[in-house]
């Protein structure tokens, strides 16, 4: 597993410049949001809500970017077959998810640090919010990688790309019940994708072999 994660980290390292760019720019955009809203005469949102939505949104966006780029590289190189032969496709998916979620959480950390600096407060992020964000990052990364292993069709990209926006909206709603429901639905979707991946292997029509 350690070697599989090392491989993923080596791959993610290629996209380091864009990843750092996202890490720096995302908090600035979220900091500017309340100003943009006040300019249009819309009621200003609470800082806590903006912080939560920003945290969810930037983490999910970073995961989407990393998973998209890494899987594109794997598909173009047809390199998944060799990686899967070493430890099984399950291990590859887990390693990819862990590495992508880790990068997403690094982005969350950067958002946390820059937000504290920009807002001048460090009580915006509760421990439960950070925990939910970490769980969401892991589930989303697993779901996205599994789905992209199944197929690289337009619909798959659309579903994965819509997640950062959905996460942002969930954060803006700020309802605990809705957040929990969303996490459950996401976990169920990830589980279903994993089962489909297993079925594909059994039927000999693995999408990631193409």
């Amino acid at each position: 597993m350690r070697n599989a994660v090392f491989r993923e980290c080596r791959l993610i390292w290629i996209f380091r410049r864009s990843a750092v760019f996202i890490m720096i720019l995302a908090p600035v955009i979220f900091y500017l949001l309340p100003y943009a809203r006040s300019l249009r005469g819309v009621t200003e949102l609470e800082s806590e809500i903006l912080a939560a939505s920003g945290l969810f949104g930037t983490t999910a966006y970073m995961i989407f970017y990393i998973v998209y780029e890494v899987m594109k590289c794997e598909r173009e190189s047809k390199s998944l077959e060799m990686a899967a032969a070493f430890g099984g496709i399950g291990k590859v998916v887990c390693a990819k998810s862990a590495a992508a979620a880790g990068t997403g959480l690094l982005c969350a950390l950067s958002f946390y640090a820059l937000s504290c600096l920009l807002w001048g407060r460090n009580d915006l992020f509760s421990a439960s919010l950070l925990g939910i964000n970490a769980a969401n990052a892991l589930i989303y990364a697993f779901f996205a990688v599994s789905l992209l292993c199944l197929s690289d069709g337009m619909a798959v990209y659309f579903v994965i790309a819509s997640f950062p926006a959905v996460c942002l909206t969930i954060g803006l709603i700020g309802e605990n019940k809705i957040t929990a429901l969303f996490l459950l639905a996401e976990a169920a979707a990830a589980f279903a994708a994993r089962e489909m991946l297993k079925k594909q292997m059994e039927r000999g029509k693995a999408g990631w072999l193409k």
Partner: protein, 244 residues
């Protein structure tokens, strides 16, 4: 000879369609080199993928004495990460298998890839890609090595380098190689497994095949293979006729 791989009535079909492998029964001994030959679509790649654990068999029993981490696998296409350099690609496998420095140098020198190590894998020629991929697959003396079409895109010199590595570096490993180049294959393998329509036709050494089919000891294996294939075709059509 100690049994290393055992296949009993192995079958494999793609998505409910025509079966790619059917009723395969054979054993591979420890340290034995097996050559896979057969026409396109005969099931060579499918068998190698099943042995590597990339695909699951649909029926039968396939047993192997080593865990999949200890299998060196070279796919017929792709394999290298195009966005990384050749050295970085090799480093992933060297690290995973704890390959010592001497081995790294030996492989780079023998396969003639030292000069292209810093180049991006995606920009390498097909032949160079194959050589790097081969080094990735065999690095660290894996006990079981599966090579799918290793001689494709390679020049004669590089083909001989690959033969040398299989003979010297992998002398203790069990190797399964698929190729259409029977000349190269016969030199590095102990037995040849002839496949046709996913079925085993023969599993014997080149010499045994020549004796069995009454060919001269110096007869080209290619011609002999064509004769075996024609015989099999004849037997099949005869069976079909009897059934009707």
């Amino acid at each position: 000879m100690q049994k290393f791989v055992s296949c009993r009535n192995v079958s494999m079909s793609y998505g409910g369609g025509q079966s790619a492998l059917s009723g395969l029964c054979f054993d591979i001994g420890k340290g034995e080199n097996i050559g896979l030959i057969g026409p396109i679509g005969s099931g060579k790649t499918t068998l190698i993928r099943c042995l590597a654990g990339v695909l699951r068999i649909s029926g039968g029993i396939m047993e192997c004495c080593v865990s999949r981490e200890k299998i060196g696998y070279m796919p017929s296409a792709g394999g290298l990460l195009n966005c990384l350099s050749a050295r970085e690609n090799l480093e992933i496998w060297f690290r995973a298998r704890h390959v010592p420095e001497d081995d790294r140098r030996y492989l780079a020198e023998t396969l003639g890839i030292e000069k292209i190590l810093e180049r991006e894998a995606g920009l390498l020629s097909s032949g160079m890609k194959k050589a790097v991929l081969f080094a990735c697959a065999v690095a660290g003396h894996p006990p079981f090595v599966l090579l799918d079409e290793p001689f494709v895109h390679l020049d004669i010199e590089r083909c001989m380098c690959i033969q040398k590595v299989i003979r010297e570096y992998l002398k203790e490993s069990t190797v399964v190689v698929s190729s259409h180049n029977l000349e190269y294959l016969e030199e590095i393998t102990d037995r040849l497994l002839i496949l046709r329509n996913g079925r085993k036709i023969e599993l014997a050494s080149g010499q045994d095949l020549r004796e069995k089919y009454g060919a001269d000891a110096h007869d080209e294996l290619g011609k002999l293979y064509l004769r075996i294939a024609a015989d099999e075709e004849g037997r099949n059509s005869k069976k079909g006729g009897e059934r009707q």
